[in-house]
């Protein structure tokens, strides 16, 4: 295999100005990425997963030369993102701002022609490229209307077409199925899978885990600017299955949860609160052996357990396990769970 994207110890930090008063500000340094290293192979469908603010978009912008890294290095299609930015950009088809990156007063065709021209396509080559990509995305009948008259899904399609029009070897898509309805999202997923089968490399970010599970050869889970796991979706989910997850439904006291966290067989504990009640998920190397002590500890410290289950872990499970703050307080966890739910 041949690595088409190579990222080594990439870091990005910048100053954020925070308002402290009417005229006063304070600068705070934000570490958006820290020590990120990974490779994407040619023809691979690679996903970046993470919650909002995890650093996915910053990473994509570093790779598309829209942000310069603070340290580390990255090569795209053999070119350095710092020293050979123009060659890097020529190797990429980008969709980073979704439907926002289009000229709404222009027609879909004019938008595509403009971006094709900026990639050096002219005349008959440009016309053929636009015809090919619009046929592929089913855009032909809308192509001569102003983009401002399009539906959200149609605009997203034009944005995707814009990324495809110059036939770059690497596609970089930031949450491409956002704002698409179920059918349009499925169509786009099928198209991306097809493009990947044809030999294009796809790097995309998402927080839709089922999408990544379905499409990606490998995924990197990004959390607080770091890659916390990188593997195939099946293996990431499989790791969690080997680990074993005990799910308890009931009412849980903070002391009870703390006691469970300190049990020797317990690796991770997460509390989720939703309309259907509170669920305590416990990952353990030996879930059968851990179940008894866990329940005993909870009940002894004022918790009630209504239901017990051992669930088959999936990518979502792995994602949640890997991105939850290990030492956050009970309340923070409960709040985070509420927000997520």
């Amino acid at each position: 295999m041949n690595a088409i994207i190579q990222v080594r110890e990439l870091a990005k930090s910048y100053l954020v100005r925070e308002r402290r008063g009417f005229f006063s500000f304070q600068n705070r340094r934000v570490h958006a990425l820290t020590g990120v290293s990974f490779e994407v192979q040619q023809g691979e469908f690679f996903g970046l997963l993470g919650r909002n603010g995890a650093g996915k978009t910053t990473l994509l912008k570093c790779l598309t030369t829209l942000i310069s890294p603070s340290s580390g290095s990255a090569r795209v299609n053999g070119f350095d993102v710092g020293a050979q930015a123009a060659q890097v950009r020529a190797s990429l088809g980008c969709m980073l701002a979704g439907e926002r990156g289009l000229y709404w007063k222009l027609t879909g065709r004019e938008n595509l022609a403009y971006f094709a021209a900026l990639h050096g396509l002219r005349g008959a080559r440009q016309r053929r490229a636009i015809e090919r990509v619009s046929a592929r995305l089913g855009l032909e009948e809308h192509l001569d209307r102003a983009v401002e008259t399009y539906s959200s899904g149609q605009r997203m399609k034009v944005a995707v077409a814009r990324a495809l029009v110059h036939e770059a070897p690497i596609l970089v898509l930031d949450e491409p199925t956002n704002a698409l309805d179920v059918h349009a999202a499925r169509d786009l997923r099928l198209l991306l899978a097809e493009l990947c089968r044809e030999g294009r490399t796809v790097l995309f970010s998402s927080h839709v885990l089922s999408e990544a599970e379905q499409l990606c050869d490998r995924v990197a889970i990004v959390d607080r600017g770091k890659i916390v796991a990188i593997d195939t979706p099946a293996r990431l989910a499989g790791d969690q299955q080997q680990l074993g997850v005990l799910r308890l439904r009931g009412q849980f006291s903070e002391r009870g949860v703390q006691a469970v966290r300190e049990l020797p067989l317990v690796r991770r504990v997460r509390l989720d609160t939703s309309e259907r009640g509170t669920v305590l998920s416990i990952a353990s190397d030996n879930v059968q052996a851990a179940a008894g002590p866990v329940i005993s500890a909870l009940v002894a410290l004022g918790s009630t357990v209504e239901d017990v289950e051992l669930s088959a872990a999936k990518l979502e499970q792995a994602f949640l396990e890997l991105t939850i703050e290990p030492d956050s307080s009970f309340e923070q966890r409960a709040n985070a769970s509420r927000l997520e739910s």
């Binding site: 950009r89 020529a90 701002a97 007063k105 222009l106 021209a117 900026l118």
Partner: protein
Amino acid sequence: MSAPSAARAVLAVASNHLRMMSRTPFYLLMDLALPLLIAAVPMLLGRSFAGPGASSAFSANTGTNNPFLFMLLGSTQFVLVGGALFNVGSWVRRELQAGTLESVFATPNQRVTIVLGVCVYGLLKDLAILVVSLSVACLVLGARSFDLRVVAAIGWMVLGAIPTYAMAVAYAALVLQLREVSALTQLLQGATGLLMGVFFPVEILPKPLQVLAWCFPPTWSIHGMRSLLLGMSWRLGALERDLSVMLALAVIFPVLALLLFRRAEEKLLAAGGFGGL
């Protein structure tokens, strides 16, 4: 990137902007009509204050007995300078907000070529404005005959537009960092209108402002056009000397503007990119 590729990118950007302008034709109509409308105001004001003797008083102060053309050249240059700031500075802001700046800057072109494309579009529009203004003034209103000097004045304006657009590129660099444009554009437009002597000779400004005014390319541009079309004296006594200054400005200002833009680009790349609002 090779020079032909860069030139093609510049043309692609300029033609894209012309295409977008065609979708908002009233903006073009406004730009074409504004110089004449703006020039009419001080003309009528002068008449209402000074009566029939207005022209002779004006002639004594300016060295020309053609106040209408004096005003029109001033108002045209005012519209052109405002347009340059608006076309380039506001363009950056608009596209930053629309998300298109990031899309365009993700193409394999030097980012400054994209900005140059916008400047070329602005220049073409300016040329149209000036040609229409002078044609109406000469052929319809009879302000003077439409001869070779008018063509020379248009050429002078194009030369003056180079440092003016360089200033606009520097302004765009500022907008990219400040992310604030409307009030700043109007403030700059007002200040430049005052400094370049839109409706009056620069010589009536206080001395410190005069020094500032002659550091400012549009002042040379407007004065040169007035010298060509109204027979007013050249600033440095001869066409060749004023032309040398214009040529120097047309070299120095773009170099400074490109350096400023590059610096702003580097700062933005380090700070967080082109995608925010």
